[in-house]
């Protein structure tokens, strides 16, 4: 439950702040970044194939399982037992990279493939935190 704390003023205690009535809840990063908190998990980007879409090595991916997948969505998928982040081409069943150095991968019936969620948000810590990087080790 979100409650705005309002303090009761009693007795002779000076003047009430003229801004008191205008107090609002502070900004929450979760509110901004998570559309479906229940269905969202975080992952750490590893590799450079998505740089054209602004996803760099070491960025945090916000993966939303409840979000609708459409053609050209940036998705995270389980591709043959490995989590990958790619652009999905739903028409041709391709996994595209956002980089010239990586070729499209076609998804065949022999592959094990499940879409895990959509990446509408990713973020970068410009000063790297050791705790975050330790999962790349």
């Amino acid at each position: 439950m979100k409650v705005i704390p309002v303090y009761i003023e009693a007795g002779i205690s000076g003047f009430e702040s003229p801004a008191a009535e205008y107090k609002e809840l502070n900004l929450s990063l979760e509110d901004l970044l998570l559309q479906h908190p229940n269905a969202t998990f975080f992952g750490l980007a590893n590799g450079r194939s998505m740089e054209g879409r602004g996803i760099f090595d070491g960025d945090v991916l916000v993966v939303d399982r409840a979000e609708h997948v459409s053609n050209d969505s940036v998705i995270v998928a389980n591709f043959n037992g490995c989590f990958v982040c790619k652009i999905i081409d739903t028409d041709k069943a391709l996994l595209l990279s956002a980089s010239d150095e990586h070729k499209p991968i076609s998804i065949s019936a022999a592959d094990s493939f499940q879409i895990e969620g959509v990446v509408n948000v990713s973020f970068r810590l410009h000063k790297k935190l050791p705790t975050l990087l330790s999962c790349l080790a």
Partner: protein
Amino acid sequence: MFGLIDAVAFYARVEKVFDPTIRNKPVVVLTNNDGCICAVCPMARELGIPKFIPYFKIKSFLAKHNVVIRSSNYELYADLSERMMNVIARYSDRHYVYSIDESFLHFRNFTCIDDWHEYGHVIRKAVWRETRLPVGVGFGSTLTLAKAANHASKKLSGFDGVAVINDEDSRKEILSRMSLTDVWGIGSKLGKRLSILGLKNGWDLANQSPKSMKGQFGVVVERTVNELNGMPCLNWDEIGQDKKEIFSTRSFGQRVTNEHALKAALSSHASIVAKKVRRQCSLIKRLVIFASNSPHDDNYYKKSVIYEFPVATDNTLKIVTAISFVFDSIYMAGVMFYRCGVGAIELENSQFQQQDMFNVTVNNPQLMKYYDKVNYRYGSGAIEVAVAEKSDKWAMRRNFLSPSYTSKWSEIPKIIC
């Protein structure tokens, strides 16, 4: 209409959610201290791996079949359970979390739904999509029938994860395919006694006279019979009833011989019990404190002492002090302790206390309130009674622990770009 939703092989399945490398492999999960197998995924079940078998007995079989072994990752299970329950809660107007992977639903203002089967699939799909957990959904006009339908949804052939008991045909079909002990509230002893009467399945039980069942087996079975016939007897409030006993007990990761270490472990169990007791607003009148070595040891040693509080209490400090009072009669030098625990075996309601004019106040609700708050905010163990100091020796042995994918930034899953 009532519903019961529960996850299929919850622990084993949760292990697969964030680890794509084991999605298509058989997975088993071990209990505390990696002692026994407590969960098997459907693939592991096909290999014929039974539940609750000690790990060491089946170790080589698991290795031969490349079965993935995991220790219980409670941090992860608690998080996924909460997510699953939040999704389920959207679909009814009353909802009661019955266990880590089970939830009862009550639909009071849902007259608009005419196809419950379809509605069950809507819920199932949403849970799958948002949490990647498969669930079974059962609907029925009583809690016991909902539980029976849930059983059918997962265990009986011809059902696809959803089962509904909403008419005579569906009731007869499902109940006649259930064994007596699959019926909610019928344990193995009761099942045996009922089968002596010639009853074979749930349908036979439903056709007994409630009166004569009450005469022979008591009011609980009478209510079950009525519930199986679509007459609600179990009150919604009763499924969430307070626990009558609360225990905290565990085996040690390594044997304990030191006096202080055993006392610390017992004190820690005492404070866990105290916390749980406060959560349901009870007070402890009688406490049992016990410790033992292993029954497989040469000289089996087990000591258990009951302590009665003069005035019932929920004060952690008083409850931990009780350990000191009885400790000397439990500890024996030279015994390699394997297991210990504390249990509140007589509880009283904190709201209805008979006061006594000679009572000294032993409770300190204010202190306990903040004690619990600090531990909730900063993680359990943030404040602890000094004697309950943690030691690595009796920490849980979890050799096959998966990462805390959703609760530690240093362990979030790696995604290849």
